[in-house]
Amino acid sequence: MAQPIAPFASAAPQPDPAMEELLQSVVDTARAIFGAQASSILLLETEKDELVFEAVSGQGQDFLVGRRFPAGRGIAGWVAASGEPMVVDDLHDSTSFDRDIARSTGYVPDALMAAPLVHGDRVLGVLEVLDPSPQARSSLTELDLLCLFARQAAVALNVLTTHTRRAPAPDASPDPSRTELLRLLSEARRLLGE
């Protein structure tokens, strides 16, 4: 079960381009891995008790970023609170599936996978994959794969945030770790685009 944490990275007053790049890369890659209609990252803001869409790939990409909803509800809420992944299928008959959230997002999936972004015993947020390809639905193997990927994403998120918090002197040379991370992200996105 997750531990409440202070706001980690979301809703920063001034968006960090590197953070945006990282999160977008994660959701683009997750969507590609699972052949999904959409993927999104929701970060947890414990002070406001909300989950916030921080990056979206595919369905909802144009309007979902910045939307927020109560952190205690729905599948994403359960994943954030429990620290456990979840994969559900056959949602089309479930009229009440996260109704409020679905209404606000304008997209109701038939299948959904969600894994926590965890660093240590802290949950930073949730990685969701909506409507993965039929071959990638509901199996434990896919759940394992999603968790592995979410773990990697959480590590990257933590590294980036840690480096971001150490504000460099104005004339300091760029942090090599950060530069390398950004280079890898650009490479991953280039490969996905090919």
Binding site: P4, G72, R73, S82, V87, V88, D89, F97, V118, S139
Partner: protein, 277 residues
């Protein structure tokens, strides 16, 4: 009128001045292999509690819910109160439906530890488990765990308290390779998933800490609004074993937790007694 005060019976630390005739035990068992009807009960008379996100009332796959509580955390601390609210997510309802399918005549109750706010921290889980244990349920389904070391010792004590009062805690192993609790304790029955299609198959794990495997892939589960979905994970394997516990206990009500674990062991599909099933 005078009241004769008798000393309360203490914990049995040792057997001083008493012999075997002073500690008789009326027992069930030992359980027979499956042909003996080991899993033959219906759950009748067994009280099962789901500690999770709540349970939707009157769901066709769940049926009646006897009692529902929720754990609240605010500036006054952590407390438990009865609630008419159902399920905030669907997860608890899913677990309850599997228990009902497995042990149709058991009495189901719910303690909600998730879904109020993002207060799903270890102390809320701990209080929910404590409440369920103190209500002396026969079986507690816990498809949750905490990875916080801060709660390990309290959880261990609580798991032992349950064990010694004949309350069986059936706990999900974490879905990833995460060290979390209380499923790691030997005083509970821990459950992971197998990938077989047989919805009634359970296996013993000869390489614990996860002790049993049950159906956890593409499981048809109850969901919000009286509906159902398919889902995967240890969360749904666990209530199957909890349901089996209720069934076994309904036909052998005096089984201790260690006997119950033995009954699950003997009835596991991969366990061969003297080379045969």
């Amino acid at each position: 009128m005078t009241t004769v005060r008798r000393p309360a019976p203490g914990l049995t630390w040792g057997l001083r001045g008493r012999g075997p005739d002073d500690v008789p035990v009326d027992a069930d068992g030992p359980p027979s292999p499956p042909e003996g009807g080991l899993l033959g009960g219906t759950g009748q008379g067994i009280r099962v509690c789901v500690v999770d996100s709540g349970v939707e009332r009157d769901h066709p796959m769940v049926g009646p819910v006897a009692r529902s509580w929720r754990v609240l955390k605010d500036e006054d601390g952590v407390r438990v109160e009865e609630t008419e609210e159902g399920d905030a997510c669907g997860h608890g309802t899913a677990c309850a439906g599997i228990i009902r399918r497995t042990a149709p005549d058991c009495e189901l109750s719910s303690v909600r530890v998730l879904g109020e706010r993002f207060s799903g921290s270890g102390d809320v889980l701990l209080e929910g488990i404590r409440w369920a244990v103190r209500q002396r349920f026969d079986v507690i389904n816990l498809s949750l765990s905490t990875s916080s070391d801060r709660f390990v010792e309290q959880l261990r004590r609580l798991a032992d308290e349950a064990y010694f009062q004949q309350t069986v805690i059936v706990a999900s192993a974490h879905n990833t390779h995460v060290e979390s609790f209380p499923w790691r304790f030997s005083s509970v029955i821990s459950v992971g998933s197998h990938q077989e299609d047989d919805p009634d198959l359970h296996l013993y794990n000869p390489e614990p800490p996860v002790e049993f495997f049950a159906p956890g892939q593409r499981v048809r589960v109850a969901w919000l609004g009286g509906t159902s979905i398919r889902s995967s994970g240890n969360s749904f394997a666990t209530p199957f074993i909890a349901g089996l516990c209720a069934r076994i206990l309904s036909s052998h009500p005096r089984l201790t937790p260690f006997q119950l674990k033995n009954a699950l062991y003997l009835s596991a599909a991969n366990v061969r007694v003297h080379g045969s099933r």
